[in-house]
Amino acid sequence: MPADSSRLLLDARGLTMAFDGNVVLKDVNLALRAGEVHAIVGENGAGKSTLIKTLGGVYRPGSGRLFLDGQEMKLRSPADAIGSGLVVIHQELSLAPHLSVAENIFLGHYPKTSIGLVDRRRMHGETRALLSRLNIGIDPRALAGDLSIAQQQMIEIAKAISYKARVLILDEPTAVLDESMVGTLFDLVAKLKAEGLGIIFISHHLEEIFRIADTVTVLRDGRRTGVSPVAEIDQSWLVSKMIGRDFPEFSAGTRRTGEPALEVKGLTLNGVFEDITFTAHRGEVVGLAGLVGAGRTEVAQAICGVRHPTSGEIRIFGRKTRLRNPKMAMRLAMAYVSEDRKTLGLLPNRPVRENATISKLSRFRCFGFLRLGKERAFVADMIRRLDIRLAGMDVEIRTLSGGNQQKVLIGRALAVDPQILIFDEPTRGVDIGAKGEIYEIIEELVASGICVILISSELEEILRLSDKIVVLRRGRLAKTLTRHEASESTIMQAAALAG
Amino acid sequence: MLNRLLLTLTVAVFVPTAATYAQDKQPISGKTCDELLAQYKQLPFTNILPLDEGPVAIGGEEKKITIGFSQTAFNHPWRVSMLESLQAEACRHPNVSLVVLDGNVDVAKQSNDVRDLLVRGVDAVLLSPVESAALVPAARAVTDAGIPLIVMDRDVPAEKTLFIGQSNITMAEQVAEKMAEDLGGKGNIVVLTGLKGSSPAVDRNKGMENVLAKYPDIKVLAVGDAQWIREPAVPLMEDFLTAHSDIDAVFSHAEESSWGAQLAIARANRCGDGIRHYTFDGSNAGFKAVKAGTFRADGNYTPFIADIGLRAALYKLSGKDIPGAESYDMPGSRLLLPDSPTVVAANADEWIGRGWGDFEPTPDPCKK
């Protein structure tokens, strides 16, 4: 166990932070050893990002002390932190897209030739050596903007190593990666660990903690509620420490499905997906699984009128339809909750109330005018029913947490009284508490006879909720699995393997 | 879809326009040669550089002559009237044709326009510049091409064949003298200037100040930028009337701005104050307003000078000397036009019909 044998690298004691009298971090201790992967978990708002920003020199803690290799540190800026070997890799990557990999890595400290020009040969040579040491197979001359997200992330990490980082803080690095890329990232983390770096790892995906971390610290409401070697705990321990109660369990297989609600036959959108066929019934959840880029979202959008399929057939309650736009889909009682809250879902600077009702303003119309009282009553009821936590229905939706934003968008979809509801990654970027609540909402909807199509990259989620799983691979139907046939391995095999 | 719509719109607009041009109407002014020739008789300066009707011979040969005219812009009827005097002269000479370009009040565009004229191979360039200094390079390009360059209205400090213009300073002095005389050398006035920074506005202001220097009892209460037009003059005058209860006269650089001021006076119920208007532009409508007593004086800054410009170019091309051309403090020579007399009640009848524009004056809102 490296955690015990090696020296203490980073030691934070009693970190406390408050904004305007609002305590967001209270007396938090954190000990990181060389060669250790230390996971930090917690719901949104638990204090993870404040802790990271404090360690990264963005915030100065109100009280508490920070030791690096036994030496007390006073970090005044992010540059200070980087200078002392503490490097944060943020979720939003910061590479300059028009510069090459090597230029990005050496940005700000280019090697110079004797006459002061950039020494390209040396820069490329050193970059190549660095990348090969880390087992990263990327050409130093490639433009950063041409790389995939996963590759850009690796370059950010390589850049950190070139700064002689001793402690690497990865802020939700897997949030933007799909299953296969996560494996590559974890290989790199293992390599860094072997080189004696200390790694702090933030993730919403609890199974990743068990795959990669040595130690885990749990935060809730700014306090440390648990710390333990990963080997000694299980997932329910983590969840209970995070949310302060047990995660809801569902009894599977008791659903009663009704008539066919949505029938898709040979649906094709040239160059994107082809020949997709499946049927979903009332009171049933059909999961759409597949790797990122398999065409799941595109299929869902073609079903609900956002995209226009080139051929194939869609029947809604037995009636053949051709949907020209989302409005038509809504009129036929079909609604879509997008995966991309920010660009396709939120009206960020509008109040929650308007966000919730934009899909069905006709509900409140009387002689052409909106009746605001009726609207308020409707939204108040929605807030109660979906247990949305907010200061009031007139606050801008962008001020809400991810989970509450998502619930408002679900409420928006429910406002059209849908019989078919398509959820695209309903729990992405949502904390674990809200996640459980969203599962409960889906269960309730299905129990009331609504047909749900669920797209998710989290296999666990798909397995937990779906009656039937349609696996896509590169825009084609790879396999349809019943609940009994489905498991993580059967889905992954169908999604990732040829034949 | 959009393309089709735009196309339809364009056709709808341009086909009728093109059709009217087909009946031998001159571009922009929209008048036929017959109409223009009738107007020619009324032009004030046909006796300067006189030229007989009929084809113009150059070196004994009656070949086709193309003259380029780069105008500041055609956004004001004064500018269109200037073009009419040019077109009228051109109509008298069957072998002379015009290429007319619109500078859009943009020195950069006008510089390019002048160069375009050179590319099109015109025989002479007439230029009425947006602004003096900025057109020096364009003027040099014309001179370098060995083509006559006639500059009109505003001058350009570069080598040229001839500059033809009137003096805004002496004209403003005439108008201001008339005002001082009417006021008996004592009173309060407000000033509505033309677009600030433009050279006629600067010169008209200078002429006024030259005169007021002699009358210390005439006080300027307020100055506003009315931009030559009516709309900005209204709120300015309204505010002046609110601030001052003792305004005797409005000295305005443009008739349009005077009309705006008069509207404001009527609306403020101050018609009874007997506020007098002194203005400039020299339109027929302005002269009629002088006759009706709305305006006390109208500075007669006539646009009908481009016919002289064309004649000067033709003189030069056919090798004739230009009588009256004199050297002055700028490169090239100048033909100074006599100041047309300021139009006042006494001579209004004589001038009505010889000004520019054939529209009626706005009904005086104080006489309703």
């Binding site: 409005k327 997008s338 660009t343 396709l344 | 959009l2 607009v13 009827p77």
Partner: protein, 311 residues
């Protein structure tokens, strides 16, 4: 009170507070300022730009911009002037308004269907409509002799100038449309996030077109005020007004990034600019210096707005 709600309250009353402050300062600078005739003057002086700015608010709320409003005003003005003498107000007014609305329709189709950026589309229309106005008049202003039309621009109803009443009517109708109709609500939605609005079933294209038609219609109404007040149909009417209208909108607290703002704010923004011009004239400030004040006011107002936005 926490910071977020302070920002919200400031957004709601801050512009108004600025107007009150300006009025207080102005009444100290000139004893003629706080008189009924002067206040009515201001209300009439701001009518044209105020009406344009309300239409502009609709467009900016959708994250668009309409640079052609000044030209559409000019277009309607020459039609009123050209048609009045022969056909009377009953024909001239509807036709003038229709001309401006038709141009707005072309703007809307260009933006919503052809996906031409609003800046470009309306810049093109700025030039195109001005060109038509020049062609129609041959460059010469058309005097308006119609007596009842003159009274429309210069008369009073219940002691209030008719142009100001037109402004207030446009304001009231717009405020109701924006806050109490599905269309108004969707205008905010489109500006806040067009894609999200589309996915929520909002007829984004149709409403976007409608917004530009409204801007055209309102430009035509402003043209009506212009022509009737000034008794002249000049093809250069309204040149540069688009910038005055945009200034009033942003001073009134509407975000150029869409989805945020009210017509009431725009009205107050219009008044702030109008009162400033008025007091500078009353106190006889040099016209060159007036420009400085106006520029500084716009930048300061928007700076304060953006600060409170971030808080």
């Amino acid at each position: 009170m926490n910071r977020a709600s302070f920002a919200k309250i400031w957004r709601r009353v801050g512009v108004f507070a600025a107007l009150i402050l300006l009025i207080v300062v102005a009444s100290f600078l000139s004893d003629r300022f706080l008189t009924v005739p002067n206040l009515l003057n201001i209300l009439r002086q701001v009518a044209i730009v105020g009406i344009l700015a309300i239409g502009m608010t609709f467009v900016i709320l959708t994250k668009g911009i309409d640079l052609s409003v000044g030209s559409l005003l000019g277009l309607s003005v020459v039609f009123y002037a050209g048609l009045l003498d022969d056909h009377g107000m009953v024909v001239a007014i509807p036709l003038g308004l229709s001309a401006a609305m038709l141009a707005g329709l072309v703007n809307g189709i260009g933006v919503a269907w052809a996906r031409i950026p609003p800046f470009i589309m309306t810049l093109g229309m700025l030039s195109f409509a001005r060109g038509i106005a020049f062609i129609y008049t041959g460059g010469t202003p058309i005097p308006i002799l119609n007596e009842s039309f003159y009274r429309l621009g210069n008369g009073y109803v219940a002691g209030i100038p008719i142009p100001s009443l037109i402004l207030l009517a446009v304001l009231a109708v717009s405020a109701v449309v924006l806050s109490l109709t599905a269309f108004g609500r969707s205008v905010y939605g489109i500006g806040s996030n067009e894609e999200a609005a589309r996915l929520s079933g909002v007829p984004v294209k149709f409403y976007t077109i409608l917004v530009y038609v409204i801007s055209g219609l309102v430009s035509g109404l402003a043209g009506l005020v212009y022509a009737s007040q000034l008794s002249i149909g000049t093809p250069i009417a309204g040149q540069g007004y688009e910038l005055d209208a945009i200034a009033a909108v942003v001073v009134g607290g509407t975000s150029l990034f869409g989805g945020k703002g009210t017509v009431a704010g725009t009205f107050i923004g219009t008044l702030i600019i109008g009162v400033l011009a008025n007091i500078l004239n009353l106190t006889g400030v040099d016209p060159y210096v007036q420009q400085l004040f106006k520029g500084a006011l716009i930048v300061t107002a928007v700076y304060i707005m953006s600060r409170t936005d971030r808080a």
